[in-house]
Amino acid sequence: MNLTDEKTDKEDENDKAVAIREVSEEIGLDLTSPHALFVGNLPERIVSTSFGQVPIMVLCPFVWLWVGPDVPPFKLQPTEVASTHWVPLRVLLSPSARAYEYVDVSDRFAHRGSTVLKAVIRSILGKMRFSAIRLTPSESLYCSSTAEFFSPPEENAQATTTTSLVSRFYSWYLGDHAGASGNTRPLLLWGLTLGMLADFLDQLPPHNAVQLWSYPTFTSLDVRFIINILTIPLKRRNQARLRKSGMKNETVIDSETEAVSGDNPWFIGGLSKGMEASQKGKNATSSYAVGILLEDYYNMARRGVWISAGLRIMTTIGFVLYIIKTHWKRGGH
């Protein structure tokens, strides 16, 4: 397994110490244990938002191998972690585990546009579709003390009576699946975490993790169609670049996923301005696979959204004019 070793200084040790502390706080696993063998780090990723011109944080993934047959039981922090799941790598690598996550992105820029604009954009886009992996854990642990895990029926009954049929239909149609809680939903790995894992997984045979990944798009067929057409040359170009960089050095995995890697659903704030911002916050060395694939993709996607919005408005106007015309003609006779 080849992990890049970019940072060797004090800063690296600090980030590592933070990761060790956070893991201990969140799930109670002691990575300073003699059984926790530190094997390297994945390239760090810069996460930026559309409204913060500056990148908001840097994620530094470090890799440990537990050398020993038994991992001590986890202690889940109830306010942070709902559950933990051990997932075999072969599940993550299997094409049959590939799925999609659908996210209502209009919510994400609620604080930008008016409710009307939001509704218009939502009706045009539908949900945003992200590449995902359906996790099949070999072992799961739930934080059973929380209401999320199991709440008494009285509370549930109250909750269902307060939501009307209309609002339930509304949330079913537009609901943000990614944000839904509950144990019945399939576990989907997508977005930022998938972006980071994709490059790691791509190092493992059959080296198809990145191939299995697909571009984020929208559920509205016209938007998807237009974006597909617009991004054909871009996809071809990025694919070629990926192949080229792969030949040079197969181990290169590099920074910046995120801003682009799909989990930045509020990039859609870019309908007004956000995309330029996230482009600015971009890391110069984006030679890791998913980053290469996504380069300029969101710019094109945004163009596609506007084109289909324009087409819809023109079609509507045309239709209205046609109705008026036929009515007027009929009235004339």
Binding site: I27, P88, T193
Partner: protein
């Protein structure tokens, strides 16, 4: 954040109870320890796994209930910004 890997032993080649004590943490290099670890029969026949967390359901967390790697610390920083 941390990507923590482990090997789940196969039923047919379960490790001895003494197997875990073979590993000597302090003296050897990472490469040597990896070689030593992967030379064991239960590791060679085992199933590599990694651990994910499902984040707690929290109002105002952009990544509420998302699947993530442990040690992320993403919530706190964002909450202060948004």
């Amino acid at each position: 954040m941390a990507l923590v890997l482990r090997i789940r032993p196969n039923f047919e080649s379960w490790p001895d109870t003494q197997a875990s004590s073979q590993d000597d943490a302090s003296s050897t290099s990472t490469i040597a320890r990896l070689d030593q670890f992967f030379s064991q029969y239960w590791v060679q026949n085992g199933d590599p796994e990694c651990v994910f967390i499902k984040r707690a359901a929290r109002v105002g967390d952009r990544w509420t209930s998302h699947v993530a790697l442990p040690g992320g610390k993403r919530g706190t920083l964002l909450e202060s910004l948004i």
